[in-house]
């Protein structure tokens, strides 16, 4: 039942799942370097997939009021405000450029109360900014389910509700999931989540919630894919920050893009999730980032837990035997 590299290592997921002649694997390449944070992806996704509103809470995390990926948020645009160092991007073909924004106190990310205490008017006078040219950057990134080659959520699902599609993506069958919630802690990216009921529905009203109590996440618009359509988010993205296509092709494009950026001096540009040898066998949805993954709320070196499942079962078997033995031992000897 389990073939070579089924748990870890490079593999074509659709083939591995038993599809004889599947179409090319589909996925996203999200190039955060051209994301303008318009959130069109979030809205398009919710409109197409009938995802309910996730609450009207102002979070104060820059312009991110969607909090995280969860059952009611299948695309999530992150915003990171970063006083940085002198930009090196323009050390390429063009002249260095001064963004003209001051560094306030110690290095901080995000508009936080903390940044208030450290800020003082004097730090901000142009004179005091002589010497090193302070700069500032505002990172934006549209996060989404990674559709892992080795998807923990799919592996641990006891009902078979989560399944591998012919496109190599991972999708929940709403009518089969019984809401055991095992996939939730299994996901190394914290993507999939069990949808809350109308009782604790954030907007307070008691409207019936679709697919209440079962696992929900991005389907890479399985229905649209089958109709030969782009996923809604990629369709709506104005700057092509979200690129949809064959994973193979996207990986090639991503390599070219990152090389181009390095050439232009953007040394921070790096790919995330594109390596078939990584902890999840490469993600179907991968990213070009401008800082460490954890800055965007992504795990720096994610691993699919089922990678070690055989070892875990072996340890458990040993423990079970030990238990049996222990029990037996306790019946030896004198009875009184």
């Amino acid at each position: 039942m389990i073939g070579h590299n089924s748990l870890f290592g490079p593999v074509d997921p659709a083939h591995d799942a038993g599809y004889d002649d599947p179409p090319k694997r589909k996925g996203f390449f999200t190039d955060t370097s051209i994301c303008i944070g318009c959130k069109a992806c979030e809205v398009a996704c919710k409109e197409w997939n009938d995802v309910p509103e996730a609450g009207f809470d102002m979070l104060g995390s820059s312009y991110d009021n969607s909090h995280s990926l969860n059952a009611d948020q299948w695309r999530h645009v992150t915003f990171i405000e970063q006083p940085g160092r002198t930009g090196e991007q323009e050390r390429g073909p063009r002249r260095p450029v001064d963004l003209g924004l001051p560094t306030v106190g110690p290095e901080e990310v995000g508009p936080e109360v903390g940044s208030v205490e450290t800020g003082g008017p004097e730090v901000l006078l142009p004179d005091d900014m002589e010497g090193e040219k302070p700069d500032f950057r505002w990172l934006m990134s549209s996060d989404v389910c990674k559709h892992c080659t080795h998807a923990a959520c799919l592996d641990v699902c006891p009902t078979g509700s989560l399944f591998r599609t012919e496109f190599g993506t991972v999708v929940v069958q709403d009518d089969i999931c019984n809401g055991c919630g095992y996939c939730v802690p299994a996901c190394p990216y914290g993507v999939i989540d069990r949808r809350r009921g109308s009782g604790d529905n954030k907007s307070g009203d008691n409207k019936v919630v679709l697919n209440e109590g079962i696992a929900q996440k991005c389907t890479l618009c399985y229905d649209r894919l089958r109709a030969d359509q782009k996923p809604a988010c990629a369709q709506a993205c104005p700057t092509e920050s979200i690129q949809f296509g064959d994973v193979e092709e996207l990986r090639r494009r991503a390599d070219e893009r990152v090389a181009r950026l390095h050439e232009a001096g953007v040394m921070d540009a790096r790919l995330y999730g594109n390596d078939p040898n990584d902890g999840v066998g490469g993600a179907g949805a991968f990213f070009l980032l401008l800082d460490e993954p954890e800055v965007y709320g992504l795990p720096p070196d994610p691993v699919v837990s089922t990678k070690d499942l055989p070892k875990m079962f072996n340890r458990a078997t040993a423990a079970a035997v030990a238990m049996l033995a222990g029990a037996a031992v306790s019946f030896l000897g004198r009875r009184r």
């Binding site: 995280s68 040394m267 401008l290």
Partner: protein, 363 residues
């Protein structure tokens, strides 16, 4: 680089995505040296770890499970241990232990089932658990283990009840039940250990830092905890003259549990922190105290029934606390990005990212 228009009008129309970003980059990305958001660094027991997070928000999600699950961890173990106690009692002609064991197993099993179903988002779809058999899903494996063990444990208990009926009432099927009790009880005994052990894999096979990191030792903690609990139960219920195996089981289990737990923590690195903090910390502390006291008591329990009951109860409570403690620690470790980011970041900085190197595990 920047093509013109030209009279031919053949300006290249597809420049590709070559736009250079406006946000500037420097070479190695700066690390934010501040802890932020929830996760209370001040409570840390090890020197403060430096790490970056996205507004202190969790990277992985805690399991959406209520107290049903840690309660099940306990009751499942108790059921398993009790079946062993019953089988042993049966073979060694200790009717009291046999009876307690069989009935406790059924009771604990019943409770377990109720807890498991109640925790589902869609309880009415419980049967969907049985629509497939998945080796990659500890929960699926566990379901099948339970559905093998369950009937035998049940049959044994029913037979036991039948046995408790006055002779004249026993006829027809009742005779059958009585007869089936022993074989059923023995099979239940043999299939019990997996019931106690698999729950460790259930927790370990997740991205929850403090569970996953504990996968080597956790099964041993759980089985010994199961023995402790069921031994304790035996001490509470069986008359002292029949309870010595229960006392040994309890004592042995307790000692084993304390040792395994120590080893586990040592193997967990930073993710052991949550075991000493907050709710989880209180549970683990209580577990230790109760288990040690109960174990000590079990040594003298042969002399005093009340002491036996007392220490037996302590051991059961200790086992329950262990389960709740480990469960809560895992949840806490998932809520704080520190326990996801730091170990992974350290791995990367050691130059040891998890990469496929060719010798992929086979099964």
């Amino acid at each position: 680089m920047s093509p013109g228009v030209g009279r031919s009008g053949q300006a290249d129309r597809t420049p590709g995505r070559e736009a250079v970003v406006g946000s500037h980059g420097g070479s190695p990305a700066r690390r934010d040296r501040r802890r932020r958001g929830p996760g209370g660094g001040d409570r840390a027991m090890v020197p403060e770890a430096e790490f970056t997070s996205y507004y202190g928000r969790p990277v992985v999600k805690p399991a959406p499970w209520e107290n049903d699950i840690p309660a099940y961890l306990f009751s499942g173990g108790l059921a398993a241990g009790s079946s062993l106690l019953a089988a042993g009692g049966d073979l060694n002609d200790l009717p009291a232990l046999r009876r307690t064991g069989r009935l406790a197993a059924l009771g604990a099993l019943g409770f377990s089932m109720a807890a498991l179903v109640h925790d589902l988002g869609r309880p009415e779809r419980f049967v969907n658990m049985l629509r497939t058999m998945k080796l990659t899903s500890p929960m699926s494996v566990g379901t099948w283990i339970l559905s093998i063990y369950g009937p035998f444990a049940g049959a044994a208990a029913v037979g036991e009840l039948a046995g408790m009926m006055p002779e004249r009432r026993v006829r027809g099927p009742m005779k059958l039940l009585r007869g089936a009790a022993r074989p059923a009880g023995l099979v239940a005994g043999l299939t019990a250990p997996p019931v106690a052990a698999y729950t460790a894999v259930l927790l370990a096979d997740t991205a929850t830092p403090s569970w996953n990191a504990a996968y080597r030792e956790l099964p041993f903690v759980f089985v010994s905890s199961a023995l402790t609990a069921s031994g304790g139960l035996g001490m509470v219920t069986a008359p002292p003259d029949q309870a010595s195996p229960a006392r040994r089981m309890a004592f042995g289990g307790a000692v084993a549990e304390l040792i395994a737990e120590q080893r586990m923590e040592r193997s967990m690195g930073i993710t052991a922190e949550p075991l000493h903090q907050g709710r989880a910390g209180r549970f683990m502390k209580a577990a230790k105290v109760l288990t040690v006291a109960g174990a000590a008591g079990s040594l003298l329990a042969s002399r005093s029934r009340s002491l036996a009951v007392l220490s037996g109860a302590a051991l059961m409570a200790g086992s329950a606390c262990t389960r709740f403690g480990i469960f809560e620690a895992g949840q806490a470790s998932a809520r704080d990005p520190k326990y996801t980011v730091v170990p992974q970041r350290e791995r990367l900085e050691r130059g040891e990212p998890v990469r496929y190197t060719g010798e992929g595990p086979r099964s």
